[in-house]
C-alpha cells in the first residue's frame, strides 16, 4: 500500500454489475494490485479457494462478507471497501446488481462521486446495465465509468468494444448523466485495471485506476448556494464561555464567511455571521462538506432543524414536496399513509397526497394505472408535510434535495426520496 499524503483526496465510487460480470474479481484486483491486501487476508482466501476446489486464488472472495452470502455465493448487502494510492483514498460501495436489490444499489449510489458499471463483453448491454445506468443518473452520480470486462474472452477485439460503447451511448443520451467514460478491461488478467494492456494497443485511453485517480471531483459539491442545517446548539455552561452560543452543523452547500448576511429558516430572522468556529479557533471560511460551528451577531432563537442560509439566496420553503422515491420495505407505500420525513437535520410528519406514476426502471415507462409502490419500486409522489421543509432540487444539491421516509410504527427507513 503506498502512503497517501496530505494532498490526498477522498473519492467514493459505487460498483454495480450483474451476477458473474466480474465485479468481485475487479474489486479484488484493484485491492490486490494497489497492494491493499494483507498477507493474512490473502492466506485466508487462498485456503478457502483451495477448500472449494477452485483453481488459483479467487480474488473475488476478498469482497464478500457475511456468512449467508458466502453460503449462497452472492452479495446481498452494501459492503464498503477501502484502498488508497498517493493521489487518492478510495471508498468503494460494493452493491449487488439484481433487481431485487435495487434499494441496495440506491443506497450505495447516494454518496458516490463515480459509478462504475460493469459489462460482460460477451453479453453486451443487458437490462441490468440499463438499470444501473438509470439508478446512477437518478441518484445524480456525477461521473460514470463503464468497464467492458472479459475482453480476453473476445480476443481483445476493438469492434466488440466499440459496438458496446455505441449501444450504451445511444441510451445513456436519454438519461441525465453528464460524464460517461469507457474502458476495455480484463479483471481476471488485470489488463487496463492498474497496468496498461499490451493486448489492446488500439485503446489509447487511461487505465481504470488512472481514471479513478484523476477524474475531476472538485466541483461535485455545490459551492454556490450557502446552506447550513443546524444540527446541535453548543452552550458550554462554563464561566469562561458564559454567553457562548454556537450552531453546530455541516455545510451542505456554498461558502460561509464572517460578516455574511444570513437568514434563519423558518423564523426568517436576519443576522450576520460573527464567526466560523472550530476547535482550533476561528477560521476564515467554511464550505461543504466541513463540520463547523457558526456564531451569529444577534441573539435569535435557533434550534436543531433550522437552516441558516444567505439572505439573497434561499431554498424553497414548502409543505408540498414532489419527490422521486425508491421504496425499501416489504410493506408497500400506503396511499394517504402518514410517515416521518427526515430532511437534513429536520424531521416532520407527512401524508402521501398522491402517487403520480410508477416507473418501470428497465424501460423507463411511466405507469399511471398501476400505482402500488412496493419493495424496490421507483415512483413519483407528492407529499404534504406538517411543517415546511427548506429544499433545493436534488439535481442542484444532493444534501438539501434528499429525504428519507420513516415508518412511524416500526421506525424503519422505508424510502429514499429525491426532490424534483
Amino acid at each position: 500500500m503506498s502512503t497517501p499524503t496530505e494532498h490526498t483526496e477522498l473519492l467514493r465510487f459505487s460498483t454495480a454489475g450483474s451476477v458473474d460480470d466480474g465485479k468481485s474479481t475487479l474489486i479484488g484486483r484493484l485491492l490486490y494490485d494497489s497492494k491493499s491486501i494483507f498477507e493474512d487476508q490473502y492466506d485466508a482466501i487462498s485456503k478457502t479457494s483451495e477448500k472449494r476446489g477452485e483453481e488459483g486464488v479467487n480474488l473475488a472472495l476478498l469482497t464478500d462478507g457475511l456468512k449467508a452470502e458466502r453460503e449462497q455465493g452472492i452479495t446481498i448487502d452494501v459492503a464498503y471497501r477501502y484502498f488508497s494510492t498517493p493521489k487518492r483514498k478510495f471508498i468503494i460501495a460494493d452493491t449487488p446488481g439484481h433487481i431485487q436489490y435495487t434499494r441496495n444499489m440506491v443506497t450505495g449510489a447516494s454518496t458516490a462521486n463515480v459509478a462504475l458499471i460493469l459489462v460482460d463483453a460477451r453479453k453486451g448491454i443487458l437490462e441490468q446495465t440499463r438499470r444501473h445506468a438509470f439508478i446512477s443518473s437518478l441518484l445524480q452520480i456525477p461521473h460514470l465509468v463503464v468497464c467492458i470486462n472479459k475482453m480476453d474472452l473476445v480476443e481483445w477485439d476493438e469492434a466488440v468494444y466499440n459496438k458496446i460503447k455505441d449501444e450504451f451511448s445511444s441510451f445513456s443520451h436519454k438519461l441525465d448523466v453528464k460524464d460517461v467514460h469507457f474502458i476495455p478491461i480484463s479483471a481476471l488478467t488485470g489488463d487496463n485495471v492498474v497496468e496498461r494492456s499490451e493486448n489492446m494497443s488500439w485503446y489509447d485511453g487511461s487505465t481504470l485506476l488512472y481514471y479513478l485517480e484523476n477524474v475531476h471531483i472538485g466541483s461535485d459539491h455545490n459551492f454556490i448556494d450557502a446552506r447550513f442545517p443546524v444540527q446541535y446548539v453548543i452552550r458550554p455552561y462554563r464561566d469562561e464561555f458564559h454567553d457562548y452560543r454556537g450552531y453546530a452543523g455541516r455545510v451542505a452547500g456554498g461558502v460561509f464567511r464572517k460578516g455574511d448576511e444570513v437568514t434563519v429558516l423558518p423564523s426568517g430572522f436576519t443576522s450576520t455571521v460573527a464567526a466560523v468556529d472550530t476547535y482550533e479557533g476561528e477560521i476564515s471560511e467554511a464550505f461543504a462538506p466541513m463540520s463547523v460551528t457558526l456564531r451569529l451577531e444577534d441573539e435569535i432563537d435557533i434550534s436543531r432543524g433550522d437552516m441558516i442560509v444567505r439572505t439573497n439566496n434561499q431554498p424553497e420553503s414548502t409543505q408540498d414536496v414532489e419527490v422521486m422515491i425508491c421504496w425499501f420495505n416489504e410493506r408497500p407505500l400506503q396511499p394517504r399513509g402518514k410517515y416521518t420525513v427526515m430532511h437534513t437535520s429536520r424531521s416532520v410528519r407527512c401524508i402521501v397526497k398522491d402517487v403520480r406514476y410508477k416507473l418501470d426502471i428497465n424501460t423507463l415507462h411511466r405507469n399511471e394505472e398501476e400505482l402500488t409502490i412496493g419493495l424496490n419500486d421507483i415512483g413519483r409522489v407528492q407529499l404534504r408535510t406538517t411543517a415546511p421543509l427548506f429544499v433545493d432540487p436534488y439535481r442542484r444539491n444532493r444534501i438539501t434535495g434528499s429525504i428519507i421516509l420513516v415508518d412511524e410504527q416500526t421506525n424503519e427507513t422505508v424510502a429514499a426520496g429525491m426532490v424534483i
Binding site: M1, T3, P4, E6, T8, E9, L10, F38, E39, D40, D64, G65, L66, K67, I76, D77, V78, A79, Y80, R81, Y82, S84, K89, I91, R103, N104, V106, S110, T111, G218, S219, F223, Q231, Y232, I234, R235, P236, Y237, R238, F241, A248, R250, T278, Y279, F287, P289, M290, S291, T293, F328, M342, T344, S345, R398, I399, S402, N411, E412, T413, A416
Partner: protein
C-alpha cells in the same frame, strides 16, 4: 475563488464526517455513551468528540469494560484523559461479574476474558440506561464490519441482525427506536488503520507508550507475540525473551498481539503500517478462532 482551495484532504473529510455523526448522536439520543477501551481508536474518538463540541464538554459518558487483565499503562492513560476532559467515566468490571458468579472464567492456556466482555458491556449499558453507545469500530478491520452501518440498530437483547439493517443514505441517520432498544454508532467507520495513524500524527494526539516500540518480555504463541503477564499462563515450552515490540491495537492483555518493531515515533509507525503485510487484527487471537468469529460475536452484542 479557485476550486482548488475548496477541497478538503481525505483526513479532513473523514474528520468532518465523524464529527457530523457524533453531533447526530448527541442530538438524537437522550443518554449516549462512548465506549472507551484505551486503544488508539477510542482515543481518536475522544479527540474527535472534543473537537465536535468545543468549547463545551463532550456530551457522552465514557464507558470502559474492564477485563481486569490490562496493561497497566492503559488504565493510567484512561484516568488522566478523563480528568483532563472533565468527563464522566463508568467502568463495567468483568472481575466483579465473575465474583458475582454471573460469568465463568475460561480455563486453559488460551483462556481469554475477551468473550466475557459482551455480558458486562450489555449489563453496563442497561444499568446506565444508555440508549446509544459510540464505538471505534472501522469497516476495514474485519469482513463482518464492512457491512456495518454508522447507526446500527440493536434489539432489546443488544443483538445485531445483519440481514435486516436499516438502509443508510446520504447523511440522513435514522436513530428512531422503541423503548428498550438501543443503537451502536460507529463514527470512524470509513477510516483505515493508516488514516488513523496519519491523523494522529497530523493532530498530535497523545497515545499510551505501548503503541511505540519498547523493550518487553514476550513469548511466541500461534505465530504471535504475547506479553509476559501473570494473567497469561504459559506452556512449558513457551520461552520468554526480551524483544523490542509495539502494539497495533490494544485489548485484553491475554489476546493482544505484539509486533516486533523499532518504530519509536509516529513517522516510524506510519512507515511500518504503510508496508505492513498483516492486518492489525491479525494480531488478535480472538478473531482467529473461526472464520466467522467476528460476525458471530457481533450478533450476540459484541462491539
Amino acid at each position: 475563488m479557485s476550486e482548488l482551495q475548496l477541497q478538503l484532504n481525505h483526513l479532513r473529510e473523514l474528520e468532518a464526517e465523524s464529527i457530523f455523526v457524533m453531533r447526530e448522536v448527541a442530538a438524537q439520543f437522550e443518554n449516549p455513551a462512548l465506549l472507551f477501551s484505551g486503544g488508539k481508536d477510542s482515543i481518536l474518538m475522544v479527540h474527535l468528540a472534543m473537537k465536535a463540541f468545543a468549547p463545551a464538554r463532550i456530551p457522552f459518558t465514557l464507558v470502559h469494560v474492564d477485563t481486569g487483565h490490562n496493561f497497566e499503562e492503559t488504565i493510567q492513560f484512561r484516568d488522566r484523559l478523563v480528568e483532563r476532559l472533565g468527563a464522566k467515566l463508568v467502568v463495567g468490571s468483568v472481575q466483579a461479574a465473575i465474583d458475582r458468579g454471573e460469568l465463568r472464567e475460561e480455563t486453559g492456556y488460551n483462556a481469554s476474558r475477551n468473550y466475557l466482555q459482551t455480558h458486562v458491556l450489555l449489563q453496563t449499558l442497561e444499568e446506565g440506561k444508555f440508549d446509544a453507545a459510540l464505538g471505534g469500530g472501522r469497516r476495514d478491520e474485519e469482513k463482518a464490519r464492512a457491512k456495518e452501518r454508522f447507526f446500527s440498530h440493536r434489539d432489546e437483547f443488544g443483538q445485531w441482525d445483519p440481514k435486516n439493517q436499516r438502509p443508510e443514505l446520504w447523511n440522513l441517520f435514522n436513530g428512531r427506536k422503541h423503548y428498550g432498544e438501543h443503537f451502536r454508532v460507529f463514527p470512524i467507520s470509513n477510516w483505515t488503520e493508516l488514516d488513523v495513524w496519519q491523523y494522529i500524527q497530523m493532530e498530535g494526539v497523545e497515545l499510551p507508550s505501548l503503541y511505540y516500540a519498547h523493550h518487553r518480555r514476550v513469548f511466541h504463541r500461534d505465530g504471535m507475540l504475547l506479553a509476559e503477564s501473570e494473567f497469561v499462563p504459559r506452556r512449558p515450552e513457551e520461552e520468554v525473551v526480551e524483544m523490542q515490540v509495539r502494539c497495533r491495537t490494544i485489548g485484553d492483555i491475554s489476546c493482544t498481539g505484539l509486533w516486533e518493531s523499532d518504530a519509536t515515533n509516529l513517522e516510524g509507525i506510519i512507515q511500518e503500517v504503510a508496508v505492513a503485510r498483516q492486518t492489525e487484527r491479525g494480531g488478535r487471537a480472538d478473531d482467529k478462532r473461526t472464520e466467522t468469529a467476528m460476525e458471530d460475536r457481533k450478533k450476540e452484542g459484541y462491539f
